[in-house]
């Protein structure tokens, strides 16, 4: 049972020690320094404090599981009525990479109603086995029924790791499954790597993206992670099929849920910023709402869309669906042009995987220039109108 022990006699400067803790978990009472509930066990006090003052003690042996018994990397197939969400293919690509390190099979878990015909497509992406639960009761996502199916799949097949897309469904289902299996789950991983002992390294932005955390699940199986759409690369579709489809059954009474779906209302289809290859981003350098028109015009000329940073959503100038960043959307366009965006880390975390980043900003110290591939030190109000004219002229000439 790991814990921190404080050796008061070794503390040279109480205040200096207390200040080390970024969480305010060290406090002094009656001349004695103690640790309160705010402790996150980051152990900075051990590393940065006076030698031996805070000691990390791990005296009980943790129950260890037999990692040999857990084989395979499983991917949850995210879909609506059989239309498979592209994040699924991206995860299959990553699962294949991870599985190759430890020579494990890659599984897909597909649950829904009348989906058996849709399984074939998955076999073009290098899956070893597709487990299909096809049942009318699984027609709509109901968290209790889906969790039960997931649990059944895990208990039958013991995959060592499970990847789930961080979609509306995945973000609810993965935690519920993790809690049922009493195992760890890491949200929104940006990097996944496999150790030879089958431990999955899960790297994700923490503290609003200011810090990257490398997370392990050393004593629990399955290891679970969610990954956002457009973070991993989808593999090429192979002309040849490979792998097998395994139909699975579950007792109907186990699928009961305390939720009744009464109606489904289609929303007006709109192109999301995640789906756009080109994004022109408006930041706080935009002086007034009308000026957004010029960025919209540029985006249209480039076949893309406009997006924005958080302050513009807060000002009510742009719809929240257009916001990039940790509290908005994660995008991975081929080209992104940021206009008057300072580049707060929360924003950058939502777009730094773009293939080509051009930043326009007057402020030479703007942090966006640490992320951009092409840093334009200039005034967007001078450049954008000229660029629009030039593109229009070029189009007319051709």
């Amino acid at each position: 049972m790991p814990r921190l022990e404080i050796h008061q006699e070794k503390i040279t400067d109480k205040k200096a020690l207390i200040d080390i803790c970024p969480f305010g978990a060290l406090e002094e009472k009656d001349g004695v320094v103690s640790i309160n509930a705010a402790c996150k066990m980051c152990r900075l006090c051990v590393k940065k404090g006076p030698a031996g003052a805070v000691e990390y003690v791990e005296d009980a042996v943790k129950p260890t599981i037999d990692k040999e018994k857990w084989r395979g990397i499983a991917v949850f197939v995210d879909h609506v009525d059989g239309d498979i969400h592209p994040v699924t293919y991206e995860l299959i690509g990553k699962a294949r990479e991870l599985a190759a390190v430890i020579h494990h099979p890659v599984y897909a878990l597909f649950m829904g109603n009348e989906i058996t015909g849709k399984c074939e497509e998955l076999l073009h992406y290098g899956i070893d086995k597709v487990f299909v639960y096809d049942d009318p009761q699984l027609a709509r996502f109901k968290i209790e029924s889906y969790t039960t199916v997931f649990e059944d799949f895990i208990n039958q097949n013991h995959p060592t790791a499970i990847l789930v897309g961080a979609t509306t469904v995945g973000r609810q289902l993965a935690p519920r499954v993790a809690a049922r299996m009493r195992t760890g789950l890491t949200a929104d991983c940006t990097v996944l790597e496999m150790d030879e002992n089958t431990d999955l390294g899960q790297i994700r932005p923490a503290f609003g993206g200011n810090i990257m955390a490398h997370i392990m699940t050393p004593n629990h199986r399955p290891q679970m992670a969610t990954v956002r759409y457009k973070v991993m690369n989808a593999p090429e579709r192979q002309a040849e099929k490979s792998g097998v489809i395994e139909p699975c059954q579950i007792a109907a009474d186990k699928l009961k849920a305390r939720v009744d779906v009464l109606d489904i209302v289609k929303k007006a289809q709109e192109q999301t910023i995640e789906a756009s290859d080109v994004l022109v981003v408006a930041g706080r350098g935009i002086k007034k709402q009308e000026d957004l028109q010029m960025l919209e015009e540029l985006a249209e000329l480039l076949g893309g869309q406009i997006a924005c940073t958080r302050p513009l959503v807060e000002a009510g100038w742009v719809d929240a669906k257009k916001q990039i960043g940790l509290s908005g959307r994660t995008v991975r366009p081929k080209l992104i042009i940021t206009c008057g965006v300072s580049g707060a880390i929360q924003f950058v975390a939502g777009m730094n995987h773009a293939d080509c980043i051009v930043a326009i900003n007057k402020d030479e110290k703007a942090p966006i220039f640490k992320t951009a591939h092409y840093c334009m030190y200039g005034d967007l109000y001078e450049v954008i109108p000229r660029l629009i004219e030039k593109i229009k002229a070029g189009k007319e000439a051709s």
Binding site: C39, T183, G184, L185, A187, N210, T217, K267, D379
Partner: protein
């Protein structure tokens, strides 16, 4: 209707930096606030109580100073609250946090409806709500953008899905994670703040939990471990463009042409 709202104290700013020399996290520990997404959950509870009556309880987990967010909830109109705070709860990951909260909820009382915000601004995982519902063995629905109907045995809500809205009736007891903008949160009232200044906030420790097994809480109850933290990678491919507006426009134009977007 007995409603419980789960709230969390988060840093007022997510600005954190790693000191490049010492590698220490630089974080202003003093400034904190209620997780902004929780305000929507609390507001939803207040609106439901206005129409259907009942009581609103709040629960939070954190260091003793997290009592501040419970006071804030009182000033907005919550009736009672409790704080889960114990050294043994420290260092908890999603699983251990959810378990602790579910134990705390069992201690606090029986609720028809548990409301959570969409996510917190410091953890950003949106996972605790669904995990708590699993531990309590109750149904849950996330991304709730509208409450349509309240009945004796359940609540009908709109769930926001990428391409459609799902209208579903969830039977009590249940947990809902509400989206931003379900209702506009009210401001805390000064009068209520003064009135509730003396209201007691019980602190629940490990001793108050139904399950007193230390290994189920905090760091010990957490399957995930942080191996290391490091600053995010900085992209080093960089080209600086200086010059007149014409020159800059030309450079950008050429780049866009090269990428075949024009």
């Amino acid at each position: 209707m007995n409603i419980l709202v789960c709230i969390k104290q988060v840093p007022a700013s997510s600005k954190v930096e790693v000191d490049p020399i010492t590698g220490v996290l630089k974080r202003d520990g003093a400034d904190s606030k209620m997780n902004p997404y929780d305000l929507y959950a609390l507001e939803s509870a207040l609106r439901l109580r206005e129409v259907h009556g009942g009581t609103i309880s709040v629960i939070s987990m954190g260091p003793p100073q997290a009592k501040a967010v419970i006071r804030e909830a009182f000033a907005m109109g919550a009736d009672q609250g409790a704080l889960l705070s114990d050294r043994n709860f420290g260092g908890a990951d999603v699983l251990a946090t959810s378990y602790t909260i579910s134990q705390g909820i069992r201690k606090l009382g029986e609720f028809d409806l548990i409301l959570c915000g969409k996510q917190t601004t410091d953890g950003d995982t949106a996972q605790v709500g669904p995990e708590v519902s699993e531990y309590l063995d109750i149904p849950s629905v996330s991304n709730v953008i509208k409450i349509e109907k309240v009945e004796d045995d359940g609540i009908t809500v709109q769930m926001d899905l990428p391409n459609e809205l799902e209208i579903a009736k969830v039977y009590y007891p249940c947990l809902l994670s509400v989206d931003k903008d379900i209702f506009q949160p009210r401001l805390p009232s000064y009068v209520r703040k003064t009135e509730t200044k003396e209201r007691e906030i019980p602190i629940y420790t490990l001793e108050d939990m139904g399950d007193k097994n230390k290994t189920h809480y905090g760091l010990n109850g957490s399957p995930t471990q942080v191996k290391r933290i490091f600053p995010p990678a900085v992209n080093d491919h960089r080209e600086a463009w200086h010059g007149t507006a014409e020159e800059l426009t030309g450079k950008l134009y050429d780049k866009i042409s090269e990428l075949k977007f024009i």
